[in-house]
Protein backbone atom coordinates (compact mmCIF):
# COMPACT_ATOMS: atom_id res chain seq x y z
CA UNK A 1 0.00 0.00 0.00
CA UNK A 2 1.17 3.54 -0.47
CA UNK A 3 4.40 4.46 -2.17
CA UNK A 4 6.00 1.42 -0.66
CA UNK A 5 4.51 -0.88 -3.26
CA UNK A 6 6.54 0.81 -5.98
CA UNK A 7 9.74 -0.10 -4.19
CA UNK A 8 11.12 -3.62 -3.91
CA UNK A 9 9.48 -5.52 -1.12
CA UNK A 10 8.95 -8.98 0.22
CA UNK A 11 5.57 -10.11 1.47
CA UNK A 12 4.81 -11.79 4.77
CA UNK A 13 1.42 -13.45 4.58
CA UNK A 14 -0.84 -15.68 6.60
CA UNK A 15 -2.15 -18.74 4.89
CA UNK A 16 -5.61 -17.41 4.00
CA UNK A 17 -4.37 -14.20 2.45
CA UNK A 18 -1.66 -16.14 0.65
CA UNK A 19 -4.27 -18.44 -0.89
CA UNK A 20 -6.33 -15.46 -2.08
CA UNK A 21 -3.28 -13.73 -3.59
CA UNK A 22 -1.94 -16.95 -5.11
CA UNK A 23 -5.25 -17.57 -6.85
CA UNK A 24 -5.21 -14.07 -8.35
CA UNK A 25 -1.75 -12.73 -9.21
CA UNK A 26 -0.33 -15.52 -11.39
CA UNK A 27 -3.28 -14.98 -13.75
CA UNK A 28 -3.64 -11.20 -13.42
CA UNK A 29 -2.73 -8.81 -16.27
CA UNK A 30 0.57 -6.98 -16.21
CA UNK A 31 -1.10 -3.54 -16.17
CA UNK A 32 -2.51 -4.36 -12.73
CA UNK A 33 1.03 -4.72 -11.41
CA UNK A 34 1.07 -8.49 -11.42
CA UNK A 35 4.82 -8.73 -12.04
CA UNK A 36 5.62 -6.94 -8.81
CA UNK A 37 3.62 -9.40 -6.77
CA UNK A 38 4.70 -12.46 -8.70
CA UNK A 39 8.38 -11.48 -8.44
CA UNK A 40 8.25 -10.54 -4.76
CA UNK A 41 9.44 -13.13 -2.30
CA UNK A 42 6.48 -14.46 -0.32
CA UNK A 43 7.09 -15.66 3.25
CA UNK A 44 4.10 -17.70 4.35
CA UNK A 45 3.11 -18.51 7.92
CA UNK A 46 1.09 -21.70 8.27
CA UNK A 47 0.69 -24.28 11.00
CA UNK A 48 0.17 -26.98 8.40
CA UNK A 49 2.76 -27.70 5.74
CA UNK A 50 1.04 -26.65 2.54
CA UNK A 51 2.56 -26.95 -0.90
CA UNK A 52 3.18 -23.38 -2.03
CA UNK A 53 2.86 -23.31 -5.79
CA UNK A 54 3.06 -19.56 -6.42
CA UNK A 55 6.63 -18.76 -7.49
CA UNK A 56 9.05 -17.29 -4.95
CA UNK A 57 6.99 -18.60 -2.03
CA UNK A 58 8.78 -19.76 1.11
CA UNK A 59 7.19 -21.44 4.11
CA UNK A 60 8.16 -20.00 7.49
CA UNK A 61 9.23 -23.18 9.25
CA UNK A 62 8.54 -23.51 12.96
CA UNK A 63 7.35 -20.71 15.21
CA UNK A 64 6.10 -17.78 13.14
CA UNK A 65 7.26 -15.07 15.55
CA UNK A 66 10.79 -16.49 15.73
CA UNK A 67 10.90 -16.99 11.98
CA UNK A 68 9.80 -13.45 11.20
CA UNK A 69 12.12 -11.96 13.82
CA UNK A 70 14.97 -13.80 12.11
CA UNK A 71 13.84 -12.55 8.70
CA UNK A 72 13.98 -8.98 9.96
CA UNK A 73 17.63 -9.44 10.90
CA UNK A 74 18.61 -10.29 7.34
CA UNK A 75 19.53 -7.81 4.66
CA UNK A 76 16.98 -7.21 1.95
CA UNK A 77 13.88 -5.26 1.04
CA UNK A 78 11.20 -4.28 3.52
CA UNK A 79 8.62 -6.82 4.62
CA UNK A 80 5.02 -5.96 3.83
CA UNK A 81 2.01 -7.55 5.47
CA UNK A 82 -1.42 -7.37 3.84
CA UNK A 83 -4.60 -8.89 5.20
CA UNK A 84 -3.37 -11.79 7.37
CA UNK A 85 -5.44 -10.86 10.43
CA UNK A 86 -4.47 -13.95 12.40
CA UNK A 87 -0.76 -13.61 11.69
CA UNK A 88 -0.85 -9.93 12.66
CA UNK A 89 -1.97 -10.92 16.16
CA UNK A 90 1.26 -12.87 16.53
CA UNK A 91 3.28 -9.92 15.21
CA UNK A 92 1.59 -7.57 17.68
CA UNK A 93 2.12 -9.86 20.68
CA UNK A 94 5.84 -9.96 19.84
CA UNK A 95 6.35 -6.27 19.01
CA UNK A 96 7.51 -7.06 15.48
CA UNK A 97 5.72 -4.25 13.61
CA UNK A 98 7.82 -1.20 12.63
CA UNK A 99 5.27 0.82 10.66
CA UNK A 100 1.53 0.84 10.03
CA UNK A 101 -0.35 2.10 7.00
CA UNK A 102 -3.87 2.28 8.37
CA UNK A 103 -6.76 3.42 6.19
CA UNK A 104 -9.80 4.13 8.32
CA UNK A 105 -13.09 4.04 6.44
CA UNK A 106 -16.10 6.00 7.70
CA UNK A 107 -18.39 3.19 8.79
CA UNK A 108 -18.95 0.91 11.75
CA UNK A 109 -19.80 -2.77 11.46
CA UNK A 110 -20.42 -3.67 15.10
CA UNK A 111 -18.42 -6.88 15.22
CA UNK A 112 -15.76 -8.73 13.28
CA UNK A 113 -12.05 -9.44 13.41
CA UNK A 114 -10.16 -6.47 14.80
CA UNK A 115 -6.66 -5.41 13.87
CA UNK A 116 -5.69 -4.62 17.46
CA UNK A 117 -7.38 -7.55 19.16
CA UNK A 118 -7.13 -8.71 22.78
CA UNK A 119 -3.52 -9.50 23.57
CA UNK A 120 -2.08 -6.53 21.71
CA UNK A 121 0.72 -4.93 23.71
CA UNK A 122 -0.46 -1.45 24.78
CA UNK A 123 1.66 1.21 23.08
CA UNK A 124 1.73 4.77 21.91
CA UNK A 125 1.89 5.46 18.19
CA UNK A 126 3.19 8.49 16.33
CA UNK A 127 1.40 9.74 13.25
CA UNK A 128 4.09 10.36 10.62
CA UNK A 129 1.92 10.99 7.55
CA UNK A 130 -1.76 11.43 6.78
CA UNK A 131 -4.06 12.10 3.88
CA UNK A 132 -7.82 12.07 3.45
CA UNK A 133 -9.61 10.69 0.40
CA UNK A 134 -12.52 12.53 -1.21
CA UNK A 135 -14.71 9.79 0.25
CA UNK A 136 -13.61 10.41 3.83
CA UNK A 137 -11.07 7.65 4.22
CA UNK A 138 -8.31 8.79 6.60
CA UNK A 139 -5.03 7.31 5.39
CA UNK A 140 -2.52 7.43 8.22
CA UNK A 141 1.01 6.18 8.62
CA UNK A 142 2.04 5.39 12.19
CA UNK A 143 5.22 4.36 13.95
CA UNK A 144 5.44 2.72 17.36
CA UNK A 145 6.29 5.36 19.96
CA UNK A 146 6.96 3.50 23.16
CA UNK A 147 4.88 3.09 26.25
CA UNK A 148 1.62 4.90 26.90
CA UNK A 149 2.04 8.00 29.01
CA UNK A 150 -1.05 8.82 31.04
CA UNK A 151 -2.03 12.09 32.66
CA UNK A 152 -4.91 13.81 34.37
CA UNK A 153 -6.90 16.93 33.61
CA UNK A 154 -7.87 17.30 37.23
CA UNK A 155 -6.95 20.71 38.66
CA UNK A 156 -4.04 20.63 41.10
Amino acid sequence: MGETLSTPFDLVLGRKTYDIFAAHWPHAPEEEGAKTFNDARKHVASRSHPTLEWKNSILIVGDAANGIAALKEEDGPELQVHGSGNLIQTLLRHNLVDLYHLWVFPLVVGSGKRLFADGTIPAGLQLVDSQVSTTGVVMGTYEPAGEIVTGSFALE
Binding site: V12, E78, F105
Partner: protein, 63 residues
Amino acid sequence: MKKLIVNSFLTLDGVMQAPGGPGEDESGGFSYGGWSVNYWDERMGDGRNAEHTVRPCARSEDL
Protein backbone atom coordinates in the same frame (compact mmCIF):
# COMPACT_ATOMS: atom_id res chain seq x y z
CA MET B 1 17.56 -4.90 9.64
CA LYS B 2 14.40 -4.97 7.59
CA LYS B 3 11.34 -2.96 8.47
CA LEU B 4 8.08 -4.85 8.84
CA ILE B 5 5.12 -2.85 7.63
CA VAL B 6 1.47 -3.68 8.29
CA ASN B 7 -1.01 -2.40 5.72
CA SER B 8 -4.58 -2.54 6.89
CA PHE B 9 -8.02 -1.23 6.04
CA LEU B 10 -10.16 -0.55 9.09
CA THR B 11 -13.68 0.42 9.98
CA LEU B 12 -14.06 3.15 12.59
CA ASP B 13 -14.67 0.44 15.18
CA GLY B 14 -11.36 -1.18 14.32
CA VAL B 15 -12.53 -4.14 12.25
CA MET B 16 -10.23 -5.36 9.47
CA GLN B 17 -12.27 -8.37 8.34
CA ALA B 18 -13.12 -8.79 4.65
CA PRO B 19 -12.78 -5.25 3.24
CA GLY B 20 -12.49 -6.45 -0.35
CA GLY B 21 -15.43 -8.69 -1.06
CA PRO B 22 -18.28 -10.85 0.20
CA GLY B 23 -16.35 -14.12 -0.15
CA GLU B 24 -13.13 -12.95 1.47
CA ASP B 25 -13.79 -14.03 5.06
CA GLU B 26 -17.23 -14.86 6.40
CA SER B 27 -15.99 -16.45 9.60
CA GLY B 28 -17.97 -15.61 12.71
CA GLY B 29 -20.99 -14.93 10.52
CA PHE B 30 -19.51 -11.67 9.21
CA SER B 31 -21.92 -10.40 6.57
CA TYR B 32 -20.43 -7.05 5.52
CA GLY B 33 -17.61 -8.37 3.32
CA GLY B 34 -16.69 -5.72 0.73
CA TRP B 35 -17.32 -2.77 3.03
CA SER B 36 -14.39 -0.75 1.61
CA VAL B 37 -15.35 -1.04 -2.04
CA ASN B 38 -17.62 1.99 -2.40
CA TYR B 39 -15.13 4.40 -0.83
CA TRP B 40 -12.34 4.11 -3.37
CA ASP B 41 -11.33 7.27 -5.26
CA GLU B 42 -8.46 8.35 -7.52
CA ARG B 43 -6.42 9.59 -4.58
CA MET B 44 -6.40 6.11 -3.12
CA GLY B 45 -5.70 4.32 -6.38
CA ASP B 46 -3.47 6.78 -8.17
CA GLY B 47 0.19 6.39 -7.31
CA ARG B 48 -0.88 4.42 -4.26
CA ASN B 49 -1.40 0.88 -5.22
CA ALA B 50 -3.51 -0.20 -2.30
CA GLU B 51 -6.22 -1.34 -4.65
CA HIS B 52 -3.84 -4.09 -5.65
CA THR B 53 -4.38 -5.65 -2.29
CA VAL B 54 -8.17 -5.53 -2.30
CA ARG B 55 -8.73 -6.53 -5.88
CA PRO B 56 -7.72 -10.16 -5.29
CA CYS B 57 -10.02 -10.24 -2.28
CA ALA B 58 -12.93 -8.89 -4.29
CA ARG B 59 -12.57 -11.93 -6.52
CA SER B 60 -11.95 -14.37 -3.72
CA GLU B 61 -15.53 -15.64 -3.84
CA ASP B 62 -14.39 -17.47 -6.96
CA LEU B 63 -12.00 -19.56 -4.91
